[in-house]
């Protein structure tokens, strides 16, 4: 006698050492919460995505079509995978795929894939380009943002009140602090090259950065907030070590945003606490952050909470946060037989082995 295990698919298995995608951390949280009582399908975009080779987290893995190639192709691939895997819940974790996934939500539901995501309007309102409007509506302080189609702005911007340093950002990803027009133009081009146009420029806010991860229940409530302060970063500015914090003001900022958006799904709120102690909204990411394993560490396993919500179950009570819990990230090599890489290369799917 065999009952079907709950099957969850998680994207973003590109856990690269210097700039990890969040998918593997999400899978680890789920494994911590459910153990062998769950099947996890890892979804990636490259046969070298490290998470795809970790059998202890991913029971089977697949490569997806690139978001660049459109929603139809992605849906076609997910439909093929669904026919084999009978996935109950899909947790998308990457910025570049989320616009497509949000648009596909209904069609995914039709093939039996439940999601817990914002709708297209909520999603759009938190986009980097529209952040000031949202912050304004939610009553939160924010640095001004401008959308740029070309880098000419940087030559003369200090004459119209945009003084350096400034932050140059991609529409989906990446942010570079620049101190002069030369750096700004270079940052513009490198970001446009990778993430396309337009490119955004945000006023630089001095201060200390804090991050909050949580889940919006879609009815205006923020569930299970976990806060984190980076204690050390890699050369790419990604967290290398961090510590859980408990800050009621930051939590209130996030609650206002979630209420204003009626946000549904995971999110990460990034703020700067400026020298006057004012919290300035820098960014809202519409997904779990790569440091989400800390949520398990503080007893508030957010991916597990998301899964319960997606299944339509009542949200379990959250433990009190445990500030002071730290995480320190390390790189680890997985030994991979060539045959496994071959299978993933040639078939776009494989069954990874559990690593000791």
């Amino acid at each position: 006698m065999k009952t079907k295990l709950l099957t969850v698919a998680v994207t973003g298995m590109n856990a690269l050492p210097d700039n990890p995608g969040p998918g593997l951390a999400v899978a680890r949280c789920l494994r911590e919460a459910y153990g062998a009582g769950i099947r996890i399908v890892g979804l990636g975009y490259d046969a070298l995505d490290p998470g795809l080779y970790l059998g202890q987290y991913c029971d089977s893995v697949y490569l997806l079509s690139y978001p660049l190639n459109g929603a139809d192709l992605l849906l076609e691939r997910l439909t093929d995978i669904q026919a084999v895997e009978k996935i109950d819940v899909l947790i998308p974790c990457l910025d570049a795929e989320l616009p497509l996934m949000v648009g596909l939500a209904e069609k995914l539901a039709e093939i039996g894939l439940k999601t817990f995501m914002p709708d297209a309007e909520q999603f759009e309102r938190r986009s980097k380009a529209r952040l000031p409007e949202l912050a304004e509506a939610a009553g939160i302080t924010y640095p001004e943002v401008k959308t740029l189609a070309n880098p000419l702005f940087f030559r003369t911007c200090d004459q119209v009140g945009w003084t350096y340093p400034l932050v140059v950002k991609g529409v989906f990803y990446d942010a570079k602090v620049v101190a002069n027009p030369e750096q700004a133009v270079a940052a513009f081009h490198s970001i446009a090259q990778e993430w396309g146009l337009p490119v955004l420029v945000q006023r630089f806010v001095a201060g200390e950065e804090y991050n909050l991860a949580g889940i919006g229940d879609g009815r205006g409530n923020l569930l299970g907030e976990v806060m984190m302060k980076k204690r050390a970063v890699t050369t790419k500015g990604k967290a290398w070590a961090g510590v859980a914090t408990a800050d009621e003001i930051l939590a209130e900022v996030a609650r206002k945003l979630v209420a204003e958006l009626q946000w549904k799904g995971p999110l990460e709120v990034e703020v700067m606490r400026d020298p006057k102690g004012v919290y300035q909204l820098i960014e809202i990411n519409p997904r779990f952050p790569a440091w989400i394993y800390l949520s398990h560490g503080v007893g508030r396993n957010l991916p597990a909470l998301l899964l319960e919500l997606a299944m339509g179950r009542p949200a379990p009570a959250m433990a009190a946060p445990r500030p002071g819990t730290m995480f320190i990230r390390h790189a680890l090599e997985t030994i991979v037989p060539m045959s496994l890489f071959e299978t993933l290369m040639m078939q776009g799917q494989c069954t990874p082995e559990s690593q000791g």
Binding site: M338, F341, E342, M345, M346, Q347
Partner: protein
């Protein structure tokens, strides 16, 4: 084209390759890996036996539905790809 040979990589080089049924190729000397399609695989197997283009084409025609001139053209181009990958 009778007796014509092409500048294929030498047989020793081709022999060292681990060529799997799926079309996955691993070169243990360079550490590079490749994907070859089913016709490319057939050509690779044939040039381990002979470098005579006419003979290769005849043998391909015994297996594939292919005009001799089209096969010749495609094999010449494939030889260029092999040189690029396995020198």
């Amino acid at each position: 084209m009778a007796g014509q040979t092409l500048d294929f990589p030498n047989v020793e080089t081709l022999r060292r390759l681990a060529l799997s049924e799926s079309g996955f190729i691993f070169d243990p000397v360079t550490g590079n890996s490749f994907t070859v399609n089913h016709t490319g695989q057939a050509v690779l197997q044939l040039i381990q036996q002979t470098l005579d283009v006419e003979e290769i084409i005849q043998k391909l025609q015994a297996v594939f539905e292919i005009d001799a001139l089209v096969a010749e053209r495609d094999v010449i181009e494939f030889a260029g790809q092999l040189r690029g990958c396995f020198q």
